[in-house]
Subunit: 350 residues, 4 copies
């Protein structure tokens, strides 16, 4: 990571970039308020740091130990200053600011009517962003694969319309590379699901669309791996990354009382490593409607910048994951409690 | 589980008990406000339920599917009614009531001065119960094993004195069967540590002392196993059990950012299965002082009935686990935030 | 699963297929030696089985409980009869037959010279199939990504040439959907890596190439999930699937002595569920050269149909995973011991 | 670790011991063929190594990094020389020698007849040591707790008699501290079960009996923890420790196809750290009779020094764990195959 002088010229910057490229590496250029910072993408051990530091216009060269350099707090403070979190803006919603953000909607889009009714009721309950699955990752080829199975364009069109009608940015998952282009045409945020966390080709392709990425932790991934793969997105010049904790593989014998183990300590732990905002998905993590309220409160108390909650007006009839969806009424209760909790923890020393 | 008529005579009760014993099983007798309930300890498939139901004074015979019958909500409602949680009383502290309870103190008792100073400062910060380790379970025979290694009686005496002086019930761990008798003479609550969760001989011996048991979940145990072993305590007629979630084995490659994975969804999940109070130990779970505030808030938001927090006036100098101890000042902040959060979640639908 | 009469006409078969499609489902047609079997891809609860069974030419309609119907032993015995395993043929190598098959080669192709030298020495040591990574899945964007990063065609060409020269079928990994077409042009077996096990879009695209698929278990996946995703391949009409156990996430605190936990009991457990051949990758599983011999022997003793082993003439200099590569000499020793072990277990009752 | 000169006098040895004790530590004295080695039990950072090295009769002072010093290969080579494994002798059986050792018997002793019949048939099948559970650790207080529940002395007496009659050393589990004295009177090897691996008080009490300890790895324990707790036994001066791998907690969603995950790579990994013999229990690990043959072969192929297998003439009728017991006939097949496999791997480079 090369920090340039405040008055460094474009020529001086170009020279540094040329040096980096000369080693077969890529350069990540960030122009902050006062200075330009150049990150190295690739194996920086190939680079002669002393030589770089001696170039004109270079103020300092720093080596960052962790594999998630570009999204580390150390790096970002030169770009965005000492903010608590990077604020990812989507429409008029800010993720990473003072208020927790609520993303809500059906697990799977089933029909235009279903989507619009849930969007309306979620909006009334206080939700900011609309979610809806079109391309569903499923454990069995014999299960309903989402409306995306038949192309998905119609369902994506509904998402866009619903977003406009109810004034909410919309997010949906891109499950495979072939869907990136079309999904990016319709929605505001591209979601990478937990099963695709390690799918670096998909990450790169999605990142290049320039839209914010909602990036979910894989259920078998440690924090270091999670952040190292978020780095694939940042290395494409896209820092609008919203990290999402959604539960890890449960441990222990006997029947499992929750679908996954929600790792809430990961929220503050990640926030100490990176300035990217971190949200929590209590629906997939628990797989139980009756635990969503408790885990939503706990997530915000742990410092989460927002929640992603599955909502359905009639959970019993949902085609996918109905057992973990809550009603719009219950969502209202969640949002009220979380806002109050946020105020209490905000003054704390955490 | 045999529910007797409200007017069942002692003779009728004795007859049921005799029948149960006749099958080589044990009977657990609970006298509630209105009626007596008799539980069966052992393999109830040996018992002829139809025959039992026909005995005089018997109102109903119910079979409970889960292996944790005696502490199940189904069973307990006949004993304590439809309370939200069993209230475990220790001195004038109630665990399981409306307010979260705070247990605080040093990981290991190091000296009388250390213990008294921490006790005083924890009390001032708002703690209700004093903890302090005398017999320390350690991963290495080459590490400090606690003052209990030399007998421990002196350190236990300090615990009792500190409890009296600062008007706090005291709790310490019994690490092995040989310590049960002496520890029970000095402290108000016997703690069974995570590593001993499966130690049924220790559970039985400790339970028989009749004092409340603080029972920690093993880091590799599922919820069903945890409750099935709590049942060993209840089967000795001791229902004053405080369950404690303290983190499970972390998953994922790369360095671990927290010592264990705090499984907060286990709190409400357990509370739906049993009416026993559930507390959380954020210190051992995270192993990081800088995460204790967040995880304490999250635990109470998840519905925990209390917290057990390691406190030291000088964490850097602590002989054991200093990196996870917070100062009394930080404890004050934790308690304030948790109390406010409790109010917010209490009205919720969770 | 619909089993047709031995003399069922094409018309009768078509009628059954039409019925299935009428429910919005897909039909999988397998023509065995004596009869045709039609599988249902999708949610078969929509289908009226009694009605299907009454159609002309239908002998029997069976429902298979597991989500991996098409690759289950129950289904396959109607197609391939009661064979111990499906034999996947690649060139003149048979995987799933009486002899264990050895796949060997470098973790990453580094140069033509490196590849050819390793291919030659592996062949001499007794290996049947040549492996070599071109598109490397890596945990860090800052690490060497394989020669595929620059397009990969040249390296794939070397693989094809080496295969021809040393008379070995070749296998390489397709890491993303965009690589499927080009990789399929050059190699004999397409490998889906552990990180892509859940990537259903990639599975489908690769399966459609009609070439054998070497399918690795994800490190966080249970056996049921593994087989359910193999079913995505089979549902495309491609049953030439070679399953590969390569280790799961290690459990337990403290430093890890092996990179993953090799789950060898999965080998016979999977072989009882499906007739697909199962091989083992001891190199990635252990991450330790000094354990490859032991774990290779153990894998074959457990019943594995083959091994995939990383080989390098100079492991210390390998660009990727050198610490787990063995020399061609050591490979010879592995192959000799494994062949002898195979003979001993073959007569056993396992 | 202090290595004395070959001609060191008792006085010189005593002086070193006195120095160690002067720091509040314990000394572990091992008299090898040529020289005496003194280990330090406790926190050796308190000791001035330079001062020790200058004492008369001291040849060298070495610091061992791992927490399992006394059982490390580094330490043991000064005591027993460069043997492949420590040979633990019980009666005329040697564990850790050239031949794999087979321990077999019922999961739980049910009656004298049952025990004697199984002992006889296991002996005929080739087993060397008789196992039988008297004090059973059980997940539910409502399950059969073994004949030990009623005192156990009679069942222990049968064990001793059966051992004598069929000329086999016998092993049984001590589940709690209170059973150590009585069990040690009757059996040749004391078993510490997986659930008690962390029970340091029990380990110490059992170690002091001076009999060999069969020590099982906990299902949630890493290798470092396992060896660190074995060190508690060695620190009591008892090095006759037989380590046993019996499976760790399975990972992954969906139903579990094996009860635990048998970690066979742990066998050679542990054998590289310590010279203690390592055996494998395929019965508890898999929980499936139909996998015992495969996993037995795999264990011996991995280098295990022996097996512990549950045997019952009528597995369906066994009171405990019948689904994982094999018949004496099947045991014969296991032993034959394992002996052959052992020959094949013995010449290998592993």
């Amino acid at each position: 990571m090369i920090i340039m002088d405040t008055g460094a010229t474009q020529e001086q910057i170009d020279r540094v970039i040329a040096e980096i490229k000369g080693h077969g590496l890529r350069a990540d250029i960030s122009r902050g308020e006062f200075r330009t910072v150049i990150g190295i993408v690739g194996d920086e051990r190939k680079v002669d740091f002393a030589h770089l530091e001696a170039l004109p216009g270079v103020k300092e060269v720093l080596s960052i130990e962790v594999p998630y350099k570009l999204i580390s707090r150390e790096y970002s403070k030169f770009i965005d200053g000492d903010k608590k979190h990077r604020v990812v803006k989507v429409g008029n919603v800010s993720i990473g600011g003072d208020e927790p953000v609520f993303i809500a909607g059906p697990c799977a889009v089933e029909s235009k009517e279903q989507l619009f009714r849930i969007a309306e009721e979620a909006k009334q309950a206080g939700a900011h962003i609309l979610r809806g699955g079109v391309f569903k990752p499923r454990s069995s080829v014999h299960s309903f694969q989402g409306l995306g199975a038949g192309g998905g364009e119609e369902a994506l069109e509904w998402m866009r319309e619903a977003g406009k009608k109810f004034d909410m940015p919309v997010v949906t998952e891109v499950r495979g590379e072939a869907q990136v282009d079309i999904v990016a045409q319709y929605v505001d945020i591209l979601q990478i699901g937990a099963r695709n966390m390690y799918n670096q080709d998909l990450l790169i392709k999605a990142a290049r669309k320039g839209k914010p990425i909602l990036f979910k932790r894989n259920f078998g991934a440690g924090i270091e791996e999670f952040l190292s793969f978020a780095e694939y997105i940042a290395a494409e010049g896209n820092r609008d990354i919203i990290l999402c904790e959604r539960g890890i593989i449960p441990i222990g014998k006997g029947r499992s009382y929750t679908r996954y183990t929600l790792d809430l300590a990961a929220v503050p732990a990640i926030q100490k490593e990176t300035y990217l905002p971190v949200i929590v998905d209590p629906s997939h993590a628990t797989g139980r409607r009756d635990l969503v309220f408790s885990m939503s409160c706990a997530a915000v108390a742990a410092g989460a910048n927002g929640l992603m909650v599955e909502v359905h007006y009639n959970p019993e009839e949902a085609l996918v994951d109905g057992q973990q969806s809550i009603t719009p009424d219950a969502l209202k209760d969640v949002i009220r409690a979380c806002r109050e909790i946020r105020k209490q923890v905000h003054g704390g020393k955490g």
